[in-house]
Amino acid sequence: MNFSETFFAARFGITRRDLESYLSEALNRGGDYADLYFEYLATSSISIDESIVKSASQGVSLGVGVRVISGERTGYAYSDDLSPEKIKKAAQVAALIASNPGKVDQVPLEEGPRRNLYPVLTAPSETAFAERVALAQRADIAARAYDPRVFQVQVSYADNLRQVMVATSDGVLNFDRQPLARMSVYVLAREANGVPQQGHAGGGGRHELSYFQTERTPEYFAREAARQAIVQLDAVEAPAGEQVVVLGPGWPGVLLHEAVGHGLEADFNRKGVSAYSGRIGQQVASPLCTIVDDGTIGGRRGSLNVDDEGNETQRNVLVENGILRGYLQDKLSSRITKSPLTGSGRRESYEHIPMPRMTNTFMLAGESEPEDIIKSVKKGLYCANFAGGQVDITSGNFVFSASESYLIEDGKLTRPVRNATLIGNGPEAMKHVSMVGHDLQLDEGIGVCGKEGQSVPVGVGIPTVRIDRMTVGGTA
């Protein structure tokens, strides 16, 4: 594609020469490196409650972020106005971080390689609004039809289309068009006059709207949410104390995201504040564990053609047969530690400084039969679904909350238990993985990861896994 045909050039008249002049303005005080991140974001959302389409909303935001790096220092400014004066002003503010006499040479901009992991011709946000409303309504109907004990249903549908352009002083020029959509269904069920219980399901990705008509229908999510709520009606108190824990495939991969992934982000490790700092080459998990972060899987919520610093994403092996192999790098950490880029520099929007982040994080399949894993447990807990998690990367302690789990008694799943927190220490807990199933599954595409106030979409995955020892925070 000719530069003049790219989104920002065509729509806002930005030229290559403009980009070069903004970068040179940014380096005017002697910074080592500068980049520009242009973003145009169109979003839509629909919500259904009590079978009424209570809300439909859409809008646009746009802006540019200017970053200057000088040694280990970062200066950052942004503008929500793409006029040359305002962008120059932002470049001057970001430039203030540097005060070096020397000036670096700017490398001529060269367009990066092109690939498309999400070849979406018409993004969901470009379809007729009524079509999207109709999809959401189908979920409402299906959830109510699932069981007469369902008494409240909320459906939310949201999509966005993000156009980005990144230009850097070391010559990177890249563009991306990033569509994203998700649907989620929240259900409450109760026995006559009983205590209500909730169920939640959803999914999506970087797909055309037809994904919700063919691959994952509104009915699929609706039935799954309703099923979870109904299961909880019979739930008993969760056990308290150390247990054998079996994680089901898919969404429980959030364990890896919390227990391992965050601790391997290069910013924490460069500063030496992660429980995994200085441990490359060491055994940090059982030899059954190989964990990767892969931003290149077609259509996935966590995937990106290029990261938010203009570099291609890739498949990064974090832990191989239990041995720590590498960290997730952004530009700054890679410059400081002289490590290769991993395509992991991400940011929430043009208002934010990029950081090393995960994309899709999962454990590779092992060899055990999932049934054998459950059969191997005399007394323990089987976790089928989680509501989310959190980690203290310094101590390595992490938690996640099981929203659907069952007691395992004599090798069989017996009663569902109420939601409870599970807690462990990253490098410790992963050593207790004693069986890994052959049934790797990725989640449905609904994850949001928060770090230092910035949210980005991510994916997780895991096969059925047995962990010999974890603390379960119930009351029984």
Binding site: K54, A56, G59, A130, V273, D392, T394, F398, V472, G474
Partner: protein, 450 residues
Amino acid sequence: MTFGELPQLAADVVQKALELGATDAECTIAEGDEFSANLRMGELETLKEAGSRGAGLRVLIGKRMGASYTSDLTKEGIARMVRSAIDLADVTTEDPHAGLPDPDELGSLQTDLKLYSDRTAELPTEERIVLAKRAEAAALETDPRITNSEGGSFDSSTSGRVFANSRGFLGSYRASYCSIAAVPVAMDNGMMERDYWFTIARDYSTLDSPESVGRKAAQRVLRRLGATKIETRKVPVIFEPRIARTLLGNIFEAVDGRSIYRNASFLAGKLGEKIASDQITLIDDGTIPGLFGSQPFDDEGVPTRRTPVIEKGVLKSYLLNTYTARKLGLKTTGNAARGITGNAGIGHGNFFLEAGVTSPEDMLKSVKNGFYVTELIGSAVNTVTGDYSRGAVGIWIRDGELAFPVSEVTIASTLQEMLNGIAAIGSDLEFHASVAAPTLMFGEMTVAGR
């Protein structure tokens, strides 16, 4: 366009929406400037400074709504936003309870809430950096076991908000805040811990000294070193104020009018009933000058007020906006909250638990064996059923004294039992944020460890 010109713009947006067929309209315009400086190990690490603004519109055509927003405040950008909201009203369905507040409910507090200080915006960058540096330095100097740091920081922002609706409301206000924080890392016997402390104020002259922030952060991280796991057991549990606040967050979710009309709260249908120990009085008050939860009107143009939510253990009020109030046959409590567009949700003003009479020291002395919680992670709190289970870090209490640090455990109970089982309420209420609580002691919770 200056802030002073935005109210006219908001009124024009509302007018334009009415001309295009809306029967009612609400426009919000928000702007904000942010500044942050982070230092690490004495060296400046990041400096960020910028501002942005955006406008949002919600229209009603009869009982159907449509909403839109834009960051493009040019004439064309505004025209597209108005058109877009009108178009969307076609795809929503009629909602019999949709509507704006009644005209006699609209209004703005006339007192000076002291939300904005010029001094905060005028502080020179160099001084801001020095404040952050002093906070981190004080933490690093406290003890040789503090070997590392995630830094010291100074953050500030000024913001402005304008709201106009088709029932004649037009109001605006500005707000500012600034804060200093320190995040030291301590190491001992190969185990590493991190903690933080901060000070925050609307006017920078009322911030605590950076040294006191650094030292407090250092004390907090040092007392975590050498933590062990303990045996699973049921014991009395004390929440320090920072942790007690999170419980208020859970209660807020349970009294949010949206959870109530959906029957998705353990407090739904309990108005007028005794739901907590009679020591508990919980207030929402958006009218206290200088505090972080204060504003002259809510995000629907209704004046904020003081609402007792729980009084001596009895549930007195839910927190409502116009919509949830109509669903429940009640009156709005002035708690509408939203970003810049869409239907209003529910927010709180200054949401706080009234102080009790017990000093935190006396509370400790009363415990033979118990757990003093200084950090919670994870969020397995189900406000539909009341089930409560969270990861915890803290200090074991033995014979009335803080004995040794504990981590990698969970605490569990139900919100019902916690509210009814309050054993003591501390006298140490302070406002560091819009949610505030004193030290709290619960008669018994399950602490799960080994």
